[in-house]
Symmetry: C2
């Protein structure tokens, strides 16, 4: 069941959505494992389970919705004055956030629903990188290639987080960026 388009944005609907999101947030912090249940969330949010089922369909979709909301950027990446440092700062922060226990849980939630949530998150990253590129252009710098950064910096970081075979340390991030800069110009 697809997440419905919310026609009514004000008042009760928004209040309940906020309450449910908050409840998931709290319970998610408590239970290390994903043993959260819809009835639990409903109780914590002061809402009937049927409300959650009708609105989100099932637990994975609800968790994915909450995860996307948390992953949705609230501010542009920091402006450090130069493109190289902007990109480094963004990537290191990205790796740190995503590899944290909370970040891993959010990623898992995003992928656990058979909806289009993953592509949304993909868009968030692309948007941020676009911001950095535009900022670089405004400064007169030659911007990096967004697809290149996604393929050869973001993708390896995400891969190792997902497969859990390696930690995306700041050193590792910087090595990926250094490798990118050493590439022959296209």
């Amino acid at each position: 069941m697809a997440l419905k388009e919310r026609i009514r944005v004000g008042g009760r609907s928004a209040r309940i959505q906020a309450a449910v999101h908050d409840a998931v947030h709290e319970l998610g912090a408590l239970t290390t494992r994903n043993q959260i249940t819809v009835p639990q969330i409903a109780a914590a949010a002061g809402v009937t389970p049927s409300t959650i089922y009708r609105r989100w369909g099932d637990l994975p979709t609800l968790l994915a919705d909450v995860a996307v909301a948390r992953l949705r950027p609230i501010a542009d990446p920091e402006d450090t004055g130069a493109m190289a440092s902007d990109l480094t700062a963004f990537i290191e922060q990205y790796a740190e956030e995503m590899s944290s226990p909370v970040g891993r849980a959010l990623i898992r939630d995003v992928f656990s629903s058979d909806q289009s949530f993953p592509s949304q998150c993909c868009g968030f990253t692309a948007d941020h990188l676009t911001t950095l590129v535009e900022r670089a252009r405004a400064r007169g710098e030659t911007p990096f290639d967004i697809d290149e950064v996604i393929d050869h910096v973001v993708a390896p970081i995400v891969y190792h987080i997902l497969y859990g075979d390696r930690e995306p340390t700041p050193d590792y991030c910087r090595a990926l960026l250094a490798r990118l800069r050493s590439m022959p110009a296209t």
Copy 2:
């Protein structure tokens, strides 16, 4: 609940595992969406639901177990006579298999359980690449760097499959490999 170590490997245990795996396989082919249930699988396998719950714990873990079994390589990658073509063939086949509807479903299943299944699959890929490297060494060729291939060829492919923002076409795979070869030697 962790997947139990199977102390008893013969007879009934193995027979039931095979029956359940087959049932998941059949039902998975039928239902496009992941609306498979444990009772369904149990009925198709001629087994009681409680057997499945006791042995696998929950549906995601069972699906992940089946997925890993299907992703487990049954044969070494094809020997084409030279390292470059070996690697190209392996990567293109990998991309094709993983990006197919079945492949995407398997990947999702692997990640949907909070177990160590992902790292196993990661190992399968690494093993295959190791085989190619050893084969290259035996031929007297200078082998590629496995981590490099994982980070800059496999990872981008997996990333785009997961996020669904781009198709890993053969052309795209070859471009990734070409980019790798154009890298300055480390």
